[in-house]
Assembly symmetry: C2
Homo-oligomer: 222 residues x 2
């Protein structure tokens, strides 16, 4: 049992080191040597968990979507906004997410190790389909198509924010993106109740942390 | 006069060759040798017009915004949509535009040669400010901020289209992007009159070509 726990920890350390190296250098320039020495594990330990650089990249991409910060809300669309805004708040400081963005945008590499784009699109599609079933979304909206548009828009907004401010204005830009897309999809009565303020992400993260600390697990916030 | 005309032609040939090479290889891997041999001019002729690779990249970026396909419309917002949709139609087949997209997204290079992003943002800002002055745009819209959101969204949608379809679905994705952004900014009575169909760009290009052929110059189409 202790051995199993150690293996889980080693795997996580290797993945985090891989994410940091991929985020800094990109896939092509990353080396196994740098990853295992940064993870402070032997080459053998690394290869026990991941048999190639491509497998490491796949592991990083699979670790993108986490539910740890997802708090249930009265409106499903608010949950979608919260997912986007917490992502914007976390991205600049989490190498795992930065690596996911960079690997997914690697046009040469994605045929080797895939991309997180389908998982992100599926997540948005689920939120929107459920919101639609509840009547929060306008009848003409096709969740899959809106999810595709939003994926592209989010990738570009993120990229421009990186280029002009090293992500310092990412939360503001994400907030403005939601403000420009929601009127096309949300029912009017729902639209006015959505909170898309730039600090929404960090507030939700603080709320989730407080709930976790209280030992209560995710509660039904507003 | 003939000499001046030849100089203009040489400069254009060099710029087009530079665009093709930048679009294919990116700035770092492009060489002056490949550019002048592709342009079928001497190295001396190239240096007469552009004294460095950075100057070539700047020249390509300055050539991005062309007004040749801009036809006046009754609605200023339609002119903005037309600018976006004709860009989507032209991009996949025009190395000058592909090079502009690639150079502008070069995070290492843009400190050396700049970016076309400010020019694109300014163009959108102008369209939206004029549309707002005419009452076509909702009162709360800030043209500069919408232009920033749209720049990011357009860059990302273009990038996803490149990654998944080599730009084959760019017009469809651009049409869907406009459909997702316009409801947030257009006055309702204007919104229903805007044409954002995926074939809008190629139709406008055909119309502009016909007008040019008729020797009438850009006419006031609908």
């Amino acid at each position: 049992m202790a051995q199993q726990e150690r293996a889980v920890r080693t795997r996580r350390a290797v993945l985090e080191a891989a994410a940091a190296v991929f985020a800094e250098r990109g896939y092509a320039a990353a080396t196994i040597v740098e990853i295992h020495s940064r993870a402070k594990v032997t080459k053998g330990a690394l290869y026990f968990h991941f048999d190639s650089k491509a497998a490491l990249a796949q592991g990083v991409l699979e670790a993108q979507i986490s539910t740890e910060y997802r708090l249930p809300r009265e409106l499903k669309l608010q949950e979608w906004v919260d997912a986007g805004m917490t992502l914007a708040a976390r991205l600049p400081r989490e190498p795992m997410l930065l690596a996911g963005v960079r690997l997914s945008a690697d046009l040469q590499g994605r045929s080797i190790f895939g991309s997180a784009w389908p998982a992100w699109t599926e997540l948005t599609t689920c939120f929107l389909a459920e919101a639609k079933a509840r009547g929060e979304v306008l009848p003409h909206v096709v969740p899959e198509r809106t999810a595709e548009v939003f994926l592209g828009a989010w990738i570009g907004v993120q990229f421009v924010s990186q280029a002009v401010s090293a992500w310092a204005d990412l939360e503001l830009r994400m907030s403005e993106l939601f403000d420009h897309v929601l009127p096309a999809i949300a029912a009017p009565a729902v639209l006015v109740r959505l909170n898309t303020s730039p600090d929404r992400g960090s507030r939700v993260l603080a709320e989730a942390a407080a709930a976790a600390e209280a030992g209560a697990g995710p509660g039904a916030g507003v």
